[in-house]
Amino acid sequence: MSATGQQDRIEPKEGFTADDTPQTFGAYVTAWLVRVRSGDLGALPMVIGLIIIVIIFGSLNETYLKAVNLVNLLLQLSGLTLISIGVVFVLLIAEIDLSVAFVSAVGGVTAALLLRPDDPGFSWPVAIGIALLVTTAIGFIQGQIITRAGVPSFVVTLAGLLAWSGVVLILTTQATTSGTIIIQNDFVVGLANNFLSDFWGWVLAVLIIGGYTGTELLKIRSRRKRRLPNKPISVVVTQIGALTVLIVGVVGYANSDRGLPMAILVVLVFLTFWTFIASRTRFGRHVYAVGGNPEAARRAGIDVARVRVAVFMISGFMAGVGGIVLASRLRSVATNTGGGNLLLNAIAAAVIGGTSLFGGSGRVASALLGALVITSVDNGMGLLGVNSGVKFVVTGLVLLAAVLVDSLSKRGRASSGVA
């Protein structure tokens, strides 16, 4: 069923030519350009923005582009990315979770409390397991209230934001007079303070490139078997090549300093897992359907309430994971854990990375891309020594720009009839 051959003779009832998969490299690029022009920008604004950020800060401060700063950047973005993955799921069903920052703090504090030597001195798997159970349960409760009582998620999670910040305060001040709980467990501290050796860094690089290549090949084989058109092999090779250059570059550069942080391994594991869930499973498909048209999902027999609750549980779970990584980085939790602009950064990361606030559109990877942009700006301004006031203003403008791009591209899509 080659599209190019049959499109010349238009005989409506003659056969089905319902495919215009580009068959050559040039055609593929052209099709992509058409999509971009009609407003389907994908990750393009983010990539351009990132390049601009790197050029600006790189020219203003010589440390910015050094390997030591790349490793710092990776450390800084880990916790944020993990929390933001949960936010992506919530945004996909056109809801919001304002409680993620303090839920992450609850996770971090719970783990820290359970790990205190002799009191109760749990081993790290137990402590982390209980902490994640707690944050997932929080997501479950909030999700139940939102779906059962029909209260907007904005209000329920806003109440959660206040309540859980209170819980963090109570837990930390009850446990210690100073309000700071030091984490002494080597594994948990190691998450954000240990690094992969050069060898394991390269193993990880090979796994990523091999994994990507493998899934692409499997897809091509499965489509070939059913005689479905594939994208041209030259495009696949180019994509794999670009990924290889990127990964080898990052790993090589990081290895020239301390190496890849353990936390990045955690990020990659969850990123891969949730990407798989979102794009390859029935549950993921139902999440997108609920975000796109809840009524259609309901009539198709999908248990919309269950999907919603599950998504809030994912949000709680990932907030917990992020909270533990953040606690690990500071080697402690304190009364102010989860405060500041962590919440806004987590939501902004998802949006900047390309997840729509209107629901139904976005990818799990946008959490990483968005966190990369936010952390790059934050890190750059930190090196320049600008005060926090300026930092907030700039981060706010970056978020505004991202939301405007989302809104304008949506309008562009609507007017050109392509989505």
Binding site: D19, G292, G301
Partner: protein
């Protein structure tokens, strides 16, 4: 076309509080025919269809399917019988592509939870092909980018795909332009020619005379006429819709 009805509603009634929405209605559709269901607003068309669709039960009357008496307790029962309803709003998720929409809620999977995209894409193509839908450029296009006629075609293909035997279309041409209406009517005809029983609800008599084999007219919740298209005129149908003879005049019982 056979004379035996595949779907046969006998003497169905439905009452909402004080309102008798349907009274002793007989309605049937045969294999391979397009049955039009017409009537003014409030005549009971939607009530009849929703009863068949399992949205709510009829108060009285029987439903026979393929010669056997059946009970419909919910939308699932309707789907299990092989009756699919395409509602006016189509119930498509704009952000998903054509394949995903056609399989929504009934995705094909490998190892129970991993989506079998290639298999679904193949089935979707085959169904669209069997309906000779040639206007859709790519089955991997999101539905948001489709025209009204194309969306209708996707919704119909979705209904046809599940080995369905009766397809009920609620106002399929109401929001469409001339060329797209043409496409949808052609599609309706082809479905019937392939051995499906098609029920089409419409206000547009022109469309109905173009595509239907028979016409059932409802008025004030009662069935007032079943007309063969070949043996009737638009005037006769309009007369039946506005002034058809009623068995009982609503409110008579209370007098």
């Amino acid at each position: 076309m056979t004379d035996r009805p595949i779907l046969d509603c006998r003497g169905v009634s439905k009452r909402f509080g004080a309102v008798q929405a349907l009274y002793n209605v007989n309605f049937e559709v045969r294999v391979g025919e397009v049955m039009a269901l017409v009537g003014d607003n409030g005549a009971g068309k939607s009530t009849l269809i929703k009863g068949v669709a399992g949205i709510y039960p009829f108060d009285e009357g029987e439903i026979h399917f393929d010669g056997e008496s059946v009970k419909i307790h919910g939308p699932r029962d309707t789907a299990d019988l092989g009756i699919e309803v395409v509602y006016q709003d189509l119930a498509l998720a704009d952000n998903l592509d054509v394949v995903a929409n056609m399989f929504l809620g009934r995705e094909e999977t490998q190892r129970r939870f991993i989506l079998d995209e290639a298999h679904m894409e193949n089935s979707a193509r085959a169904t669209l092909e069997s309906l000779s839908v040639t206007t859709i450029r790519s089955v991997r296009q999101t539905v948001a980018g489709l025209s009204g006629g194309q969306r209708q075609a996707v919704a119909v293909a979705k209904a046809v795909m599940w080995d369905s035997r009766v397809v009920i279309l609620d106002e399929p041409t109401a929001a469409l332009g001339v060329a797209q209406t043409r496409q949808v009517l052609d599609l309706v005809r082809r479905m019937a020619d392939q051995g499906l029983a098609v029920v089409i609800i419409s206000h547009n008599l022109h469309d109905i005379f173009e595509v239907a084999d028979r016409i059932t007219v409802l008025r004030l919740g009662q069935m007032v006429a079943v007309l063969e298209k070949e043996a009737t005129t638009q005037q006769e149908v309009v007369h039946a819709i506005t002034a058809g003879t009623l068995d009982t005049v609503p409110g008579m019982d209370e007098l």
